[in-house]
Symmetry: C2
Subunit: 306 residues, 2 copies
């Protein structure tokens, strides 16, 4: 699993900072999460192949999370995209995009599907045999969802020493990896656990932006591997967090501790602060494993400790 931060700053795009957008690579998927103005250029800058993006998840319809979407959809058209594109976002997103495509008389030449969200409870919005994606209901100034991306448990791993010692034919490997016991020709049963190891534990990634500190979500987020949580403010401006629908870095740390996640990734910074380490320092008052997002940064989760 790999996360590329295209932009992680609040409010307006500026010369050297971008609004929210990120790409999650998980089990052969490239999921685009949020799409502030300029996202298509940041995708190019980070050499993300446009055609590999088949699913775009939009948390809410504030401009810094959404104004780059219509341009990206239009550029896909100009590049003669053929593959389907699925867009998941709040109700209204379809009308906003299709109206603009209609006005420019440039409907897509590839299949474009909108999946409009209205539920205030977590719901699974995408699922295949390898991953699932569910909404995380957030609390902001407008209807907002985070997204929880979960790997499914993979096949069991063959214990090759054991398999070779028992002289099991390669034809049975697939069955054994699926967890079945092996029955030899003489009727002897070899329990699966003697032939396999546990698969890698499935990992998960939670995207939580924009939101106030919302402990209601702790059960859903319990044990998440990597949680991106917005930290627009520092405690010095804690009074601004609730009315603007945002969190402080310390509150993000508290969520991480309470939800017992493995790693917390901070982002959605107000541009009033001079130094991102200030956010990390505050979050670390509550939780140890704090990572700092920044534009262009790539988190390769398999090699985080390198």
């Amino acid at each position: 699993m790999k996360l590329t931060i295209l932009g992680c700053y609040a409010a307006t795009p500026r010369t050297f900072t971008n609004p929210t957008s990120q790409v999650l690579q998980i089990k052969n998927h490239l999921f685009l999460i949020d799409c502030g103005e300029g996202t298509q250029v940041e995708l190019r800058r980070n050499k993300v192949k446009f055609s590999k993006i088949k699913h775009i998840f939009i948390s809410h319809l504030h401009g810094d999370h959404f104004f780059g979407l219509v341009g990206l959809i239009s550029t896909f058209r100009l590049l003669n995209r053929e593959g389907e594109l699925h867009v998941y976002g709040p109700k209204g997103i379809k009308e906003a995009i299709t109206l603009q495509l209609k006005l420019s008389n440039s409907w897509t030449n590839y299949p474009l599907y909108f999946h409009e969200l209205v539920s205030k409870e977590p719901e699974i919005i995408y699922e295949d045999d390898k991953v699932s994606v569910e909404t995380i209901p957030l609390k902001h100034r407008v209807y907002t969802n985070g997204f929880l991306f979960k790997e499914k448990a993979g096949e069991r791993k063959l214990n090759m020493n054991a398999v070779l010692k028992k002289e099991i034919d390669v034809l049975y490997y697939k069955k054994i990896k699926s967890g079945k016991d092996m029955i030899l020709e003489d009727g002897t049963v070899i329990p699966n656990e003697q032939l396999t190891f546990d698969p890698d534990p499935p990992k998960s990634y939670a995207f939580c932006s924009d939101t106030v500190y919302k402990p209601d979500n702790i059960p859903q987020l319990q044990g998440t591997s990597y949680m991106y949580h917005e930290s627009t403010f520092l405690e010095a401006h804690a009074k601004l967090a609730e009315p603007t629908g945002h969190s402080t870095a310390r509150q993000a740390g508290l969520m991480a501790k309470q939800a017992n996640v493995e790693y917390l990734i901070l982002g959605h910074y107000s541009t009033r602060y001079p130094d991102l380490t200030l956010f990390a320092n505050e979050a670390k008052l509550e939780f140890d494993n704090v990572l700092i997002a920044d534009d262009g940064k790539v988190f390769d989760f398999e090699n985080l400790d390198d």
Copy 2:
């Protein structure tokens, strides 16, 4: 008069090229013309003061001329703009912008006026005592207007030698500059032309993008000081120009010659070509005074020959 090119490339924004947007400084106005995605960042990069932009002219509703508008309007709000903003563009522009502001629950806290255009004939859409702006009907794949910005003739210039020699009181200067003759106390009439020089000849700027070669517009453009004319293609791809609603550099040169303009500025380049001088070379087959727009370039028209 000064023109700042924020972006002048066709189709999609890329890492090193921007879609169409430019700022025309004329008689204390800062007019923003077109607003492709990323325009607000280019305004910052070029140090254009946001609050000085009071009028935005949008030629047509293709994304590369328009997708940056909603973000700019939203950013003005976040920056607590107070002054009026006037947006001139094709019918539909108001719905496209207001729908998005409604969805994000962030209507502007400053007065925002839309002036929707539908006429297929030239019409004056803005006028004050110093400048006028009229539409130039263009021919593209969707309803499109260029814009012709005209200075009005200024006051006559005092011939200080003559004025001092005649011992005329400073109280009468304003009247003389307005073109009136001077009547001395003894009844003697001094004709205005003995006391003044002609004012600087008023200048004009025509923005013509996107369009096919359209000689219908020659009478309106006759004698224009500076004409920006799109040159998406070179003659090698002339066959593409008509069906896509664009022009070649040579056609832009031909328009400049036929309309007898002072200077031609080329822009709206297809990104398929490696070198902008190719456009200039083709246009120069028809017309001598060719200037090449490029992102970040500033044309200071008072000092063009420097």
